[in-house]
């Protein structure tokens, strides 16, 4: 009830503040774009096809980078969870790299991979890999030893234990890890597209700054928010469907 009212209420608040400012000129009206201006920018960019192109370009980068990282995180997470010495070897490296804000490496990626697609995809893959890898490993290691004992005493072999106990027990945690990684991908794609890109929603937002068009910035930000919540909603629904009552939170 409250949630369905949140959107109209926030829109109303935004309209009141911006149109009020236009009338009273508390602040330079150009700095506070009204809903009407944002809608106008959206229509204009949609007409000339650049909006669709930006959305597609950003989505493509996210999907490719996140997909690579997800596959790597799952494979390595499984290997590390099943082979304890590998875990001890990987841990210090992860601990070393993890506190470095990934965005600090963004220019490094641009130097290494150039300004094209590769650098952006590689950067998203790098950023999203660590949290997913850590969360996947943790959810595998958390599997209750009592479940393993119960299954083994019912005659499960090693293969059965992994396929029928470890994987299903860790699945809810793994799904949450993937959702986390996706959220992060949307977070950092913007940053990656700020720095030397010629298309994508981050570039669109940066253009808004360079050509002093705050309405375009707000439009890009809102669009990213909408896309992010849509995909997140989709992932949550898929998760519910696949896991039923076992979905976390």
């Amino acid at each position: 009830m409250i949630r369905t009212l949140a959107l109209p209420a926030a829109l109303l608040g935004w309209a009141t503040v911006t149109y009020g400012n236009r009338a009273l000129e508390v602040m330079n009206p150009a700095l506070l774009p009204t809903p009407g201006e944002v809608a106008a920018v959206t229509v204009a960019l949609a007409r000339d096809g650049s909006l669709a192109r930006d959305v597609l370009v950003s989505s493509g980068r996210i999907v490719a980078g996140f997909g690579l990282a997800a596959v790597a995180a799952l494979a390595l997470g499984l290997a590390v969870a099943l082979y304890a010495p590998a875990r001890l070897a990987v841990e210090p490296l992860v601990e070393f790299l993890r506190p470095i804000p990934p965005l600090a490496f963004l220019p490094m990626f641009l130097v290494w991979f150039g300004l094209g697609e590769t650098s952006k995809v590689a950067f998203i893959a790098y950023t999203t890999f660590f949290p997913m890898f850590v969360a996947v490993t943790a959810s595998l290691l958390r599997v209750d030893v009592m479940l393993l004992r119960a299954a083994a005493s019912l005659g499960a072999t090693r293969r059965d234990l992994l396929r029928r106990v470890v994987l299903p027990a860790a699945l809810p945690g793994i799904v949450v890890a993937l959702r986390l990684g996706f959220g992060l991908a949307i977070f950092v794609i913007v940053g990656a597209e700020f720095m030397g890109a010629d298309a994508g929603l981050g570039n669109l937002i940066m253009e808004g700054r360079v050509f002093f068009n705050p309405a375009q910035i707000v439009m890009g930000a809102l669009l990213l928010g909408v896309l992010g919540s849509l995909v997140n909603g989709l992932l949550v629904a898929l998760e519910r469907r696949a896991l039923g009552g076992r979905a976390l939170r």
Binding site: A84, F96, P99, I100, P101, L103, V145, I217
Partner: protein, 271 residues
């Protein structure tokens, strides 16, 4: 690979190694990593694979950090970044507590704040950075305000949740010992919510280092982020990697500080 016997004995965690062997292993891995890195950068030079400036060896990177530290240049950048993070994060944390505690306590406050938070939260904070620059210019204000904005949401949400999930039985117990409303809040709600509030604060610290970098990429004359981006313009790879490592150390120290404080304040959680 673990056998069935191992699995039913310890689960997937495996038997724990003796302390000393675990330490030796960790140290060995770090040394091996450095050795491999040196080898790779050496091979690039020897075999002429590509321009060696793209892959500086670890000693070059550490040497660059040392050089910047000796010349004093590093401290100026470090101080600038730290100051922005400290001011921005502290403001964000105070705002999150000032709004989150009442919002957790009273439904009316929650209903008032929820629409704004619900609409802004899904937007990646970085998308709002240009707006801050347009509003407040490229100077300190926009950088500090942006950190405040970005860190506010996770800390606010964890504060609200922490207050809401305080065990009602604790409130009943205190009320039947004679606690009145303000006493219930200060002596029960606040300490009971503290663990989760601290979790939010840790997240906020990490996030402020996460986002400061990019606002220093975009128009700054000082700061570790500036150092990195400056390195990019002139292909100074050791400077870029060195500044990134210093940032990592800062983030690590910030996290360790919060964890340490938490350990002191939450010592009642450990058996």
């Amino acid at each position: 690979m673990s056998t069935v016997t191992d699995l039913v004995q310890w689960g997937l965690r495996g038997a724990s190694l003796p302390r000393r062997r675990a330490l030796a292993l960790r140290l060995g891995v770090v040394l091996a990593f450095l050795a491999l890195w040196s080898l790779a950068s050496g091979l690039v030079v020897l075999l002429g694979l590509f321009n060696p400036i793209f892959l500086a060896g670890p000693w070059l990177v550490l040497g660059k950090v040392w050089e910047l530290a000796l010349s004093g240049e590093l401290w100026g950048h470090l101080g600038a970044t730290l100051e922005r993070v400290a001011v921005g994060f502290t403001t964000g944390a105070l705002l999150a507590l000032a709004l989150g505690l009442p919002a957790g306590q009273w439904r009316a406050v929650r209903n008032l704040l929820e629409p704004i938070v619900e609409i802004l939260r899904p937007i990646p904070p970085l998308a709002m950075l240009p707006l801050f620059i347009v509003w407040a210019g490229i100077g300190e204000t926009s950088k500090v305000a942006f950190i405040t904005y970005a860190t506010f949401f996770p800390m606010f949400l964890s504060t609200v949740h922490a207050v809401q999930q305080v065990d009602p039985l604790l409130l009943r117990a205190a009320a039947s010992l004679g606690a009145r409303r303000p006493q219930l809040f200060f002596r029960v709600v606040l300490p009971a919510a503290l663990p989760e509030i601290l979790t939010g604060i840790r997240l906020g610290v990490a996030l402020s280092f996460f986002v400061i970098v990019i606002s220093e990429f975009i128009g700054a004359e000082q700061g570790l982020g500036y150092l990195i981006n400056d390195g990019r313009n002139f292909f100074l790879v050791p400077q870029m990697l060195g500044a990134a490592i210093v940032l990592g150390l800062l983030g690590y120290a910030g996290n360790a500080l919060v964890v340490r404080l938490g350990r002191h304040w939450l010592r009642w959680e450990r058996p």
